[in-house]
């Protein structure tokens, strides 16, 4: 395979290494950018409108800038930011695939954006149809019965799922106290378990990187509310014993929760519902190309099997017998989990992505994602340690344990060197069960030529470990003092020490 720069960003122009001043340092008294509509409404004064007890003399000090300076400032900030649109982003577990531009346009249609969320269903039939169709499609993809679109992120989906679990056990007249989680799980899982009112019980992975089924059986008893699993797991490995695990958990009256972080790997190939899962959350910002926005917004819909459907958060969009859509809250609903109907525009983006790909295209997504990850694992053999060197799904975990021993080259050094090579780094130091972990997820949208360029960069770094501690040298700032940030906390411009 030839290497080409499709996903490599070393050509990105940067004009210097100066600091960008904050918007507060650009402020100049009396300057402004705002303009307001001419309304001809009577111009009562603040004193006439606000009771004296409440009226503040001066507005809060924000900043005072011209529109030109405002635009220049934020544009320069974008030049100090890596993004999927700039280059490859093989950040394991995050599924940083290319986000199709048509989804941006679809989610910007005024007929979707200029709709007040409290408008009655009779005035918002298009939105209800879109949401109901998306929910149906997500059920088809996961093999589940019903779906709420309200959770605005994966972690919110997890907590929603755990509250569904709680409501279901209560309806059965059971008191359950524990939820089982593998030691390879995302940190959101145990954090959500605590907020769901349960205690976390960890189950270890076996030497193949999957749930240790014997250890799991030892932990299963009448106190177990359920188990949360990511499948494929965070090592990128399919839990081959999933049917046996499901049977064992169900035998003690527990439920199975599917963390959809890695759903991208199995689209159209297999479904959580067929594996025996009762509750599934999806990360539409991973699997269905909703861009991540520098940390959000995402969307974390939760789909459930038929027996859990009566407990879903409401209201849900449903098609009535009269051919009109309406909002419906299930009889035993756990209640709302969002101010309105979830991150609706993110849901619209995901729906447009699904329409573009179709059922056949979604399967192609999984195939190419798994092909890319396996190809790259093979390509990096002998260069990096591959602790679980067997067929993986959409991602795999490499390690620098040997390179650390030989050259003191740590995972973080490889990550920082890779930035100089024009690629975003893989996820580092996760999952926790692998030392010096580099968790690599190329995604399906990177071409084989980009993968080869990435492999050559990683090969070059391993072969030339000298100077890695000084990396990165070409980025807008170099290695950042994280310890100082925590020790001398400066969370706002106003908290800066006087100079």
């Amino acid at each position: 395979m030839t290497a080409a720069s499709g996903g490599r960003a070393t050509s990105a122009p940067i004009m210097g290494h100066d600091e960008e001043p904050t918007i507060f340092e650009l402020s100049s008294p009396g300057r402004s950018a705002h303009s307001f509509r001419t309304t001809n409404v009577p111009e009562w004064s603040a004193e006439e409108l606000v009771p004296t007890a409440h009226l503040r003399e001066e507005p809060p000090p924000l900043t005072e800038v011209s529109e030109r300076d405002l635009v220049a400032h934020f544009t320069r900030l974008t030049h100090r930011q890596y993004s999927v649109d700039l280059g490859a982003y093989p950040l394991g577990s995050c599924t940083m695939k290319y986000n199709p531009k048509l989804c941006d346009d679809a989610a910007s249609l005024p007929g979707l954006t200029d709709v007040h969320p409290a408008a009655p269903a009779s005035l918002t039939q298009g939105w209800l149809e879109l949401l109901a169709s998306l929910a149906d499609t997500l059920c088809a993809v996961t093999g589940m019965h019903s779906c709420t679109l309200q959770p605005p992120a994966g972690a919110a989906g997890e907590l929603t799922g755990l509250l569904l679990m709680r409501a279901w056990h209560q309806a059965q007249g059971r008191q359950r106290t524990k939820v089982i989680i593998p030691d390879s799980a995302h940190g959101t899982n145990p954090a959500s378990v605590t907020l769901g009112g349960y205690e976390t019980v960890t189950v270890p992975s076996d030497d193949r990187g999957c749930v240790d089924v014997a250890a799991l059986r030892e932990r299963l008893d009448a106190d177990v509310a359920g188990i949360m699993l990511t499948n494929p797991n965070t090592l990128g490995l399919f839990e081959e014993d999933i049917v046996e695990i499901a049977r064992a958990v169900h035998e003690v009256g527990g439920l199975l929760y599917y963390d959809g972080a890695n759903l991208n790997a199995i689209l159209g190939v297999t479904r959580p519902g067929d594996m025996g899962f009762d509750i599934v959350h999806m990360n539409l910002h991973k699997t269905f190309a909703v861009p991540h926005g520098g940390g959000g917004p995402g969307a974390g819909p939760v789909a459930v099997s038929e027996r859990l459907a009566p407990y879903l958060p409401g209201p849900l969009p449903v098609l009535g017998d009269d051919g009109a859509y309406r909002w419906h809250t299930p009889p035993q609903s756990i209640g709302r989990v969002h101010s309105w109907h979830g991150n609706a525009l993110a849901l619209a983006r995901a729906y447009s992505y699904i329409l573009a790909n179709g059922g056949d295209g979604l399967r192609r997504v999984a195939e190419a994602a798994v092909l890319n990850a396996n190809w790259l694992r093979h390509r990096l053999r002998g260069i990096y340690d591959i602790p679980y060197d067997r067929p993986n799904m959409h991602e795999f975990v490499a390690s620098t344990v040997s390179l650390k021993k030989a050259h003191n080259l740590k995972a973080i050094d490889v990550a920082k060197r890779l930035l100089e090579e024009g690629f975003h780094s893989p996820t580092t130091y996760f999952p926790l069960i692998v030392d010096e972990a580099l968790m690599i997820e190329p995604t399906e949208t990177e071409s084989p030529q980009t993968l080869e360029a990435l492999a050559q960069a990683l090969e070059h770094i391993a072969a030339n470990p000298d100077g890695a501690k000084d990396a990165p040298r070409t980025t807008p700032v170099r290695r950042v003092d994280e310890a100082r940030a925590a020790r001398q906390l400066i969370p706002t411009f106003d908290a800066r020490p006087a100079t």
Partner: protein, 440 residues
């Protein structure tokens, strides 16, 4: 199909050969055969870009949107102007398609924008420190309660009925897991009537409240002190241009909905959970926090900090389970607040208050409409009507108006009306004239 997968057939074959495989199906051999989908997904085949846009346009056109339905509804979502500069900058693909800033050396753009957002929010709320966003106003309220309960060790929450009713429902939903005991505190004459005795971990008040009444935060502060609770203020960031900040009254945690600053109505999302608190609570802060530091060359730099609060490190003992947040909407908020500036925020609040007063006086002059209470209002107000509010909303839609948000039974019914800076005198006059026909 597969529009965004770049691989040619020849490349796929070459890659499979490199792996020693003869088909794509073999990639999935670790999945038990019984679990493999034989038939493929029951999802329609893929469409071309123009065909997708045609379908999305059909759905969009099946809504009554702002173009033909003038908005007088609020209740936590407001029809404010979104200027071109805010829209264009927010949609810069470097902001849109970046991930969480885990590699700060290549994420200074998002990190600095969040640092500026945190600063603007601290100035707006009058408390020390703000996080890098939560999902929405409801989730911010839930997290504020979690912080207050953890800080005080008291499970009891006094929740004013002046807090947005759907947000209160969200609070009750999540209390099923945390075990917090929610006591709702009634309104009298449109303002919260706090109990004189009892203990609590959190006292939660909305300012101005859901019915538009400007609460006396000195009363809420007094209630919190008597109860041994932290004071949580759900504030309106637009009204903050005209009325004292929650911090000025000693609020411990200030939360709110940031949608008014640059985010269109969008059926309710994605919006922005505003969260700020006193510095003494920073180690219980939920979600991400950006701090200033330096790089190895001594240059100013930004990084996510106090990370040991967070779920990926602290796991079951984390201060919150939040990971993905609403960063892009927070960046949008920072841009919009900078575009407004100090004077512009004042002007925005003033214009909302003027339109609200003009509409309120005209509506109350109609037979069949009366004030919900005598409490002073600022940018939103409630009225009682002889005709049920749901009926008014349906009939007013025929006249080209979204009349407001119907109030539930707990408030004795009525209609909640909001007027933003976008509404002209002529539009308000037309609205009132149409209401005159409908409320008869």
């Amino acid at each position: 199909m597969g529009h965004f997968v770049p691989h040619t057939d020849a490349e796929i074959e070459a890659m499979l050969a490199f792996l020693g495989l003869s088909s794509l199906d073999e990639l999935f051999d670790s999945i038990p055969a019984a679990l493999r989908l034989a038939e493929g997904l029951a999802v329609a085949p893929g469409l071309s870009e123009p065909d997708v846009m045609a379908e999305m346009t059909r759905l969009a056109d099946a809504n009554r949107s702002g173009r033909d339905l003038l908005c007088f509804a609020g209740g936590g979502a407001y029809d404010h102007e979104v200027p071109a500069a805010t829209r264009r900058l927010t949609f810069r693909s470097e902001f849109v398609t970046a991930y969480t800033p885990y590699q700060p050396e290549v994420a200074q753009g998002v990190l600095q924008a969040l640092f500026e957002y945190q600063t603007l929010l601290a100035r707006l709320t009058g408390v020390d420190v703000a996080n890098a966003s939560l999902y929405d106003g409801a989730s911010a309220t839930v997290e504020a309660i979690n912080l207050a309960v953890a800080a005080t060790g008291r499970q009891r929450v006094w929740l004013s009925q002046g807090v947005n009713p759907t947000w209160r429902e969200v609070v009750r939903t999540f209390a099923a897991g945390t075990g917090h005991e929610i006591t709702e505190v009634r309104l009298e004459e449109g303002l919260t009537a706090w109990p004189d005795e009892g203990e609590a971990g959190a006292v939660v008040v909305q300012y101005p409240n859901y019915l538009g009444g400007i609460e006396y935060l000195t009363a809420a502060r007094g209630a919190a002190e008597r109860a041994g609770a932290l004071l949580v203020v759900v504030f309106d960031p637009v009204a903050a241009g005209l009325i004292h900040s929650p911090g000025a009254y000693g609020a411990d945690v200030v939360v709110g909905e940031g949608q008014p600053f640059g985010t269109p109505l969008s059926l309710g999302g994605p919006y922005l959970g505003l969260f700020a608190c006193k510095l003494e609570h920073v180690r219980r802060l939920p979600g991400r926090l950006v701090g200033e530091t330096v790089d190895v060359d001594g240059r100013r730099a930004y990084v996510t900090t106090l990370r040991t609060r967070e779920q990926d490190i602290r796991r079951e003992k984390a201060s919150s389970n939040v990971c993905t947040n609403q960063t892009l909407i927070a960046v949008c908020c920072a841009i919009q607040l900078s575009w407004l500036g100090s004077a512009g925020l004042r002007e925005l609040a003033l214009r909302c208050a003027r339109g609200t007063r003009y509409a309120r006086e005209a509506l109350l002059a109609l037979p069949g409409v009366e004030a919900h209470s005598a409490a002073p209002t600022l940018r939103e107000f409630a009225v009682r009507t002889t005709v049920p509010a749901e009926t008014i909303v349906e009939r007013m839609a025929d006249e080209g108006f979204l009349a407001g948000v119907p109030l539930g039974d707990e408030y004795g019914g009525g209609l909640l009306v909001a007027v933003t800076e976008r509404r002209t005198r002529a539009e308000i006059d037309a609205y009132v004239a149409a209401m005159g026909k409908v409320v008869k």
